[in-house]
């Protein structure tokens, strides 16, 4: 059964230096509060896994948390590039970051294979691209048709962290809206943390609701607003202005560092 913990205790207990960590959420429900807590606790040498690094990994990379990055699209959605991500890859600042990149279809299938505890998934993809050589995929032949397909290796992170709208006191979690690969990430990981907007007495199945039962989750932590500047459908709105602000502000290393010091490191996690 999932243990209800404070966010700081959960991060302290679940995430260790050197771990492979997937913080998932596809545009929606991105677990910013948890990522910030990882930064505050000074974790280092993490392998960060995420389809769309988004501002969250831009922040974590810029703060030197990551040794390695596994991803499929490192942009600021609808705005442009990610400057800390670029600076790390182009200029090794604040430290060199090793990268492994995939397509979205590849990453999604890697999570699905991980959730199934299979060593791989098969798909059509990567064919003819230079990604094939830069990635970790392999051709595989269909025994029935002879067609050459692509095998992608399963993702099995040490820890998966996702955000959801709500949990009950037993640690059952419900999310609705764009589900991304959150369920797959939780089921693929060895340990998992779900942060939630609110804890309720009883989950009422919502339209489009997906329930992840407590017994496949390690820890649940309440973190209201924990997906901001991303959003939790029905409860908070996406802060599109912040995404635009980030594009300007984060171009400069010093400005970035000051912003993080003031807005992330300086913020004591409110006691709950």
């Amino acid at each position: 059964m999932a243990e209800l913990m404070s966010l700081s205790d959960a991060v302290a207990e679940l995430v260790s230096d050197g771990d492979s960590v997937a913080l998932e959420g596809f545009t929606h429900l991105i677990p910013f509060a948890a990522g910030h807590e990882i930064i505050r606790q000074g974790r280092r040498e993490l392998e960060l896994i995420r389809m769309t690094p988004d501002l969250l990994y831009d922040q974590m990379i810029g703060m030197g948390v990551a040794r390695r990055l596994v991803f499929s699209y490192g942009g600021n959605p609808g705005v442009g590039g990610l400057h800390r991500f670029r600076d790390a890859i182009e200029h090794d600042w604040p430290r060199p970051v090793e990268i492994e990149e995939h397509s979205h279809a590849g990453m999604a299938n890697r999570y699905a294979a991980g959730a199934a505890h299979l060593p791989m998934a098969v798909m059509r993809g990567y064919a003819g691209t230079d990604l094939m050589a830069r990635s970790t995929v392999a051709p595989i032949t269909c025994p029935f048709t002879g067609e050459t397909l692509t095998a992608v290796p399963a993702l099995r992170p040490d820890v998966a962290i996702v955000h959801a709208q709500e949990a009950d006191y037993e640690g059952n979690v419900q999310l609705w809206g764009i589900p991304g690969v959150q369920k797959e990430a939780v089921l693929a990981a060895k340990r998992s943390l779900v942060t939630v907007e609110r804890i309720v007495d009883k989950l009422e199945l919502a339209p489009g609701g997906i329930v992840i039962p407590s017994w496949v989750i390690t820890a649940v932590a309440e973190a209201p607003g924990g997906s901001r500047p991303s959003y939790s459908l029905g409860l908070t709105d996406r802060d599109n202005d912040f995404y635009k602000f980030w594009d300007k502000m984060s171009r400069d290393r010093q400005q970035f560092t000051e912003w993080m010091n003031e807005n992330v490191l300086g913020k004591e996690l409110s006691k709950r």
């Binding site: 545009t27 929606h28 959605p77 990149e101 999604a108 798909m123």
Partner: protein
């Protein structure tokens, strides 16, 4: 009729031309930015039944505002169905259920192959770009691909620094050899005109120029010896309705 309108920008023409391409399309796969605007415009002007599919998993979204991200709340709230990312790629994109996909790129070559990964050397890049996202599989499987890109020499290059997405590969037969079901790029719509692949060679040819643009100017902004179609068309100017609706959309 058109005299009442203020001057039309090249970007507006590009968006309007892209929207027109969706007149008879059933389903379109779109990213954010100009493609999304074009698809919304097409729903307003040409094709109210057009079904918008975003890779966030929202199928049949009907946003009133141009979304900033492919996963904005309005897309989820107005969608006919929402599916997970694995399902989106495995059950919807892979089988070729989507008729037209709009894609962008930082570099494009004469066979409409795309680079959105890196400028310069992969290990020591001059510019690190966002990466593949959904593009490789979208371009392989959707019915056809329409590329939307700004027309400039650094974009239309002789050789890609990185092949992120295969368009027509090295020419005829490439897509078949790779097992791709979709027809691949059928048009590249720029702020100067429209390029379409020659059916015989799959090489992009300038087939249409926007009002006020010269073919020579387009060739100058292209990094290879761009061929010009014998019957070069000129883009029909935006109608009042197109321009009015586009501006209305952008101001919402």
């Amino acid at each position: 009729m058109t005299v009442t309108m203020p001057e039309v920008s090249a970007g507006e023409v590009q968006t309007i031309v892209a929207a027109r391409r969706l007149r008879h399309t059933k389903t379109v796969f779109i990213g954010v930015g100009r493609p999304s605007t074009a698809a919304l415009l097409a729903r307003m002007v040409h094709n109210p039944e057009l079904i918008l599919v975003y890779e966030s998993g929202t199928i049949g979204a009907k946003p009133f505002h141009i979304p900033l991200s492919i996963g904005d709340g309005e897309l989820a709230e107005t969608a006919d169905a929402i599916v997970s990312v694995p399902e989106m790629f495995n059950y919807w994109i892979g089988p070729g259920r989507i008729d037209v996909a709009f894609l962008g790129a930082a570099q494009i070559d004469r066979h409409a192959n795309l680079n959105s990964t890196v400028i310069g050397d992969y290990a020591h890049p001059k510019t690190r770009l966002p990466g593949a996202g959904g593009a490789p599989e979208i371009a392989a499987s959707c019915g056809e691909v329409i590329v939307i890109a700004p027309h400039a020499k650094r974009t239309f290059v002789e050789k890609l620094d990185f092949v992120t997405t295969v368009g027509h590969g090295t020419g005829p037969g490439s897509r078949e050899r790779l097992g791709f079901a979709g027809r691949g790029p059928t048009a590249v719509i720029t702020d100067l005109g429209v390029l379409e692949p020659d059916p015989a060679t799959c090489e992009l040819v300038l087939t249409q120029i926007h009002p006020g643009v010269e073919a020579g100017g387009v060739r100058e902004e292209t990094g290879w010896e761009l061929r010009v179609a014998e019957e070069l068309k000129t883009t029909e100017p935006p109608t009042d309705e197109e321009l009015g609706k586009l501006r209305e959309l952008l101001e919402r």
